[in-house]
């Protein structure tokens, strides 16, 4: 079969503009052939080149003395956690593949991010996921939701990584466009950082992992398009299937190999497979690379060079080995029974040269593909709908009529309800490090000796004790806020993540973000992107959580419209001592309950109800200006809770987010879960009658930022409040722990909820919807 002729139509089909094509011709000094066209197309897709977002991403803070590998340098960032140890982490999306085939799409998303982490030389130790779907009343949505969760479970459980946390939201805007973002964190010693550079002229290039098939052909380009019925049709037959068992073997082999010092560079074959890994490693090292496709293991007969170069078959790695050390490499791959092949060598030409059946099928300057990708400053325009949103006033909704029912509805609303239906399907305890499992504000994982990659057999460090470390992490984004006010929403995503860390006793180390947006050619959608990134960047700066990397997923839209702008933020922090690890549920009868922060933000006309869950669930409205996020004030609250935790007085801490104070307190009453079917329910009585400057619905369900509910022994209550005030944070004793009900005195009413009833709705509503 001969290659098709390069026509303008074919160029268009490859998502290259006429100008981009002209640029390719200019780089080559001739017209590209079919394989080269495919290579330009994937490398210059948004997914690989960030051509629409690079100027925007420049706003992120990316530096700190702790950062060992920074954003954009390698597959994932690396941060120092002391004692010669470091962590590598990153988040990545698999939205489009999951829309087409939820199980495999999500599974391979997990596989991809795990590979990014061990490619850095780190041993992956835990995972998180951030998911968004339409409303569960639709059978199609339920199919996507259950498939995605099962896919994540399948891959993570089999690989043997604990999935320790995440978030799930349901909103109609995601109906045809689920968002599936997967995060992975790994651990390594400083000297174990591996690089994705093809160094050393003449060094052999190895391929390891399963044979290449026609899987996910041009997946990167596909991820850079709007979803249409046609595109999901096209994808069929090319769906990538994940093999977590294979990935586990590849990971063990790679870590064993990296300990030998025989490797000069390594990169996984993710999006754009062999293409991306070869040209990027060469470009990073300023070298060239030559490969021979006949040597690439192939699953299907008669694959063309185009297909082999663009295949996205999973679990494959490219390894550049020191010349003369080939035998060692082969021994390790054979030990793990892995398919491998020596496919090429590093050259000094600066070119990526690909041969197939004795013919050169591609010959392109490597760095031009990566560094000379097009760059666009897209037009942005404030969306018209924001005018409507800002015009919303609080008197457009009636005052509260049935607060008792309203709290129950909020607790059983799937976006607020317990996500146990999800995380009970994930092994969240494997590796003996899960100190705080899913169900509290942030997950906490213990790092110990066997969390680290192996050392060379003769290393003197083999006998050194590894000090235990505790890493906390959380992934957050309230996209409704971002939709209603992109800038404030961006700040809040970061603030919430940092607040979750603070509540668990951790100080931020860094963050990674996943920007899920619509088509960037639409100026209103681009405005959302630009403004929310500005907010995220400011937040990360204030909380000392520089961005070490991330992922952009655009074109999350279908003919019905774009998803809400969703800049998901995953933040990672360090907990100094085991005693500081704090969970969200109340502990003992009689303890005092304290609110840190203001009950209502006096500056907010909407009293925290703009964009709130209450507005959505009770009044069916998604409007209003969301609560403001004063980053400095927020930071003071985090510092205060940490100081209080360090003093040893705090028994529980839980941040207020969706559903406001009432939901936060209710969750502290019902979220303890020692064992199957055995929740630990503990009551609370609040007296909020002193607050008379706000509506009752705002007092209960307003979502003012910068608030934390904590509990302390009664004898310490006054001391703790005074301490908080000294730290510049308002603090109020609002009630006490105990009993079999939650009671709240507020707005002249005595409200009461039976714990078992609240628990049932909150714990079971997702399971019931999925029956």
């Amino acid at each position: 079969m001969s290659d098709p002729a390069i026509t303008p139509e074919l160029v268009k089909k490859h998502n290259l503009t006429p100008e981009e094509f002209a640029r390719a011709v200019d780089i080559l000094g001739r017209e590209p052939n079919y394989t080269e066209l495919g290579i330009f197309s994937v490398m210059w897709s948004e997914h690989c080149s960030y051509k629409n977002t690079r100027p925007v991403l420049k706003g992120f803070p990316t530096k700190s003395p702790k950062i060992l590998v920074g954003a954009g340098e390698e597959n994932a960032g690396v941060i120092d956690i002391g004692d010669g140890l470091a962590i590598a982490f990153k988040i990545e999306s698999h939205n489009h593949p999951s829309a087409v085939e939820p199980f495999q799409g999500a599974a391979t998303g997990v596989g991809g991010i795990i590979r990014d982490i061990f490619t850095m030389g780190a041993r992956p130790v835990c995972a998180l996921n951030s998911l968004r779907f339409g409303e569960l009343k639709s059978a199609e949505v339920r199919h996507l939701f259950s498939g995605v969760v099962e896919g994540i479970a399948h891959y993570g459980n089999c690989f043997g990584i604990p999935t320790v946390g995440g978030e799930v939201y349901f909103d109609d805007c995601y109906a045809g466009n689920p968002l599936v973002n997967a995060f992975c964190l790994g651990v390594l010693r400083h000297e174990q950082i591996a690089r994705g550079a093809a160094k050393g002229i003449g060094n052999p290039v190895f391929y390891v992992g399963p044979a290449t098939g026609r899987d996910g052909l041009a997946g990167a380009a596909f991820a850079s398009q709007d979803l249409t019925d046609e595109s999901s049709e096209q994808q069929r037959g090319a769906v990538q299937v994940g093999d977590p068992f294979m990935e586990k073997l590849v990971m063990e082999a790679v870590l064993e190999l990296l300990a030998t010092d025989a490797v000069t560079g390594i990169q996984d074959m993710g999006a754009a497979g062999l293409t991306c890994s070869t040209c990027e490693t060469a470009a990073r090292a300023g070298t060239g690379i030559e490969i021979e496709l006949d040597k690439v293991p192939q699953r299907a007969p008669g694959m063309s060079s185009y297909e082999i170069m663009l295949s996205e078959s999973q679990e494959r790695m490219l390894v550049i080995v020191k010349k003369g050390r080939e035998a060692e490499v082969q021994r390790i791959f054979d030990k793990w029974d892995l398919p491998w092949s020596e496919v090429g060598a590093v050259t000094d030409t600066g070119r990526m040269v690909v041969r197939h059946h004795g013919v050169v099928v591609a010959d392109i300057p490597a760095s031009k593909l990566t560094d000379d990708a097009p760059l666009y400053h897209r037009e942005s325009k404030e969306p018209a709908y924001l005018q409507v949103v800002r015009a919303f006033t609080i008197d457009q909704i009636p005052t509260l009529s049935n607060p008792t029912e309203n709290l129950k509805s909020l607790l059983s609303w799937p976006s607020i309800a317990s996500k146990n239906w999800v995380y009970r399907q994930y092994d969240h305890m494997v590796r003996d490090g899960s100190v705080v499992c899913p169900g509290s504000d942030a997950a906490v994982v213990r790092i110990k000796g066997d969390s680290l990659p192996m050392l060379p057999a003769d290393s003197t460090k083999n006998n050194d004790a590894v000090p235990e470390k505790f890493i906390a992490m959380s992934v957050d984004c309230n996209a409704t806020y971002v939709y209603l006010d992109p800038y404030e929403g961006g700040k809040i995503a970061v603030a919430e993540a940092a607040r979750n860390l603070a509540c668990s006793g951790a100080t931020p180390l860094g963050s990674t973000d996943n920007l899920n947006f619509g088509n960037p050619h639409n100026p209103e959608l681009f405005y959302q992107l630009k403004e929310s990134v500005r907010g995220v960047a400011e937040g990360c700066t204030v909380f000392n959580a520089p961005v070490t990397g991330g992922n952009v997923s655009l074109y999350n839209q279908n003919p019905q419209g774009a998803v809400d702008p969703t800049p998901t933020v995953a933040m990672v922090g360090l907990i100094e001592k085991a005693e500081h690890i704090t969970t969200q549920w109340f502990k003992d009868e009689g303890d005092a309950i304290i609110l840190l922060g203001d009950l209502v933000d006096a500056g907010d006309q909407l009293q925290g109800l703009g964009g709130s869950a209450y507005l959505k669930v009770v009044h069916g409205m998604k409007t209003g200006t969301p609560p403001k996020c004063d980053l400095q004030k927020e930071k003071q609250v985090h510092e205060a809770i940490l100081a209080l935790i360090y003093s040893g007085d705090v028994k529980s801490a839980h941040d207020c987010s969706e559903g406001g104070l009432a939901v936060a307190v209710a969750e502290s009453c019902i979220s303890g879960y020692p064992a199957r079917n055995t929740p630990r329910l503990i009551g609370a009585s609040l007296d909020l009658s002193a607050f008379d400057k706000a509506r009752l619905d705002a007092i209960l369900f307003g979502e003012a930022q910068g608030r934390i509910v904590l509990s302390v022994a009664q004898v310490n209550a006054v001391k703790v409040v005074e301490r908080a005030k000294l730290l510049g944070v308002s603090a109020t004793i609002i009630g006490s722990v105990g009993g079999t009900d939650l009671t709240i005195k507020a707005g002249g009413q005595d409200l009461k909820w039976a714990l078992s009833e609240m628990h049932d709705g909150w714990w079971n509503s997702i399971a019931r919807a999925m029956k």
Binding site: E150, A153, N157, C158, F159, G160, D243, P244, F245, M246, K248, L249, W336, D337, Y423, R424, Q425, Y426, D427, H428, M429, V430, R431, D432, S434, V435, C437, R446, K448, G449, D450, A578, Y673, P674, A675, R676, N677, T678
Partner: protein, 237 residues
């Protein structure tokens, strides 16, 4: 004591077992590769959890044919102590070292959560140190942990005291609700007739340190260590 912890391709609780044996219980433990044909000088064998060979086809079905399992068969036949956890339990059943089989959870979903376990008899090398009447809180994490054996086998096992652990509620009742996977008779773990080989679906190695939420599971390892010490003492005498 010297423990061998088997390592199959796809094992993923192997390090956890070594960690608990060494760092929590102060024993010596080494990993033994699936291609090895000999176990070396060991007092007991642990077959850890994970997804050996991806658990493709059937859980544990491929692992049982690996060279090291031939050595384990021999070791067990000579009276050596073998404990299988989760995937290890599945492997031992497939290998015929334990009666019955483990099939897909009734819910068809993977389940990871803490459960309560009732110890049926203290009269085994795997349960002798469990405090009287103590319910252990230990996590499970499996998709195929529903225990099955035909009626005749079950009757025999019950008569011989081979059912070691059952899923129960917080009050020790063997309710259907407390059964996380549909196991017959709420069975969580069993031993062979000679009582030197046992397996269970829950993960005691994840319940051996207070920082991980509790250390009830330690009693199982302590029982085994106690039995091995007695055995050593008997030999010496």
């Amino acid at each position: 004591m010297n423990f061998a912890v088997l390592q199959f391709p796809g094992s993923n609780c192997d390090q956890d077992c070594v960690h608990v044996l060494k760092n929590v219980l102060g024993q010596s433990a080494k990993l033994v590769w699936h291609k090895d044909t000999s176990l070396g000088e060991v007092d007991a064998v642990l077959v850890p959890g994970g997804f050996s060979y991806g658990d493709y086809l059937r859980t544990g079905s491929i692992a049982r044919f690996s060279p090291v399992m031939q050595a384990v068969q021999q070791f067990a036949a000579n009276g050596g102590h073998v404990l299988g956890i989760c995937n290890g339990f599945q492997i031992l059943c497939e290998a015929g070292l334990l009666p019955g089989a483990l099939v897909r959870n009734r819910s068809l979903q993977f389940r990871c959560e803490q459960v309560y376990l009732k110890t049926v008899t203290k009269n085994s090398p795997f349960t002798n140190q469990v405090a009287d009447g103590k319910l252990m809180r230990v996590p499970i994490a499996h998709g195929e942990g529903c225990y099955f054996a035909d009626e005749e086998t079950l009757a025999k096992m019950n008569a011989n005291g081979q059912v070691l652990w059952q899923y129960c509620d917080v009050n020790g009742n063997l309710t259907d609700d407390a059964n996380p996977n549909g196991s017959l008779q709420n069975i969580a773990g069993v031993c062979n007739e000679a009582k030197n080989v046992a397996g269970l679906m829950p993960h005691p190695e994840r319940a051996s340190e207070a920082i991980l939420g509790g250390d009830d599971g330690k009693a199982i390892f302590e029982s085994l260590i106690h039995a091995l010490q007695n055995k050593g003492a008997a030999k010496a005498a």
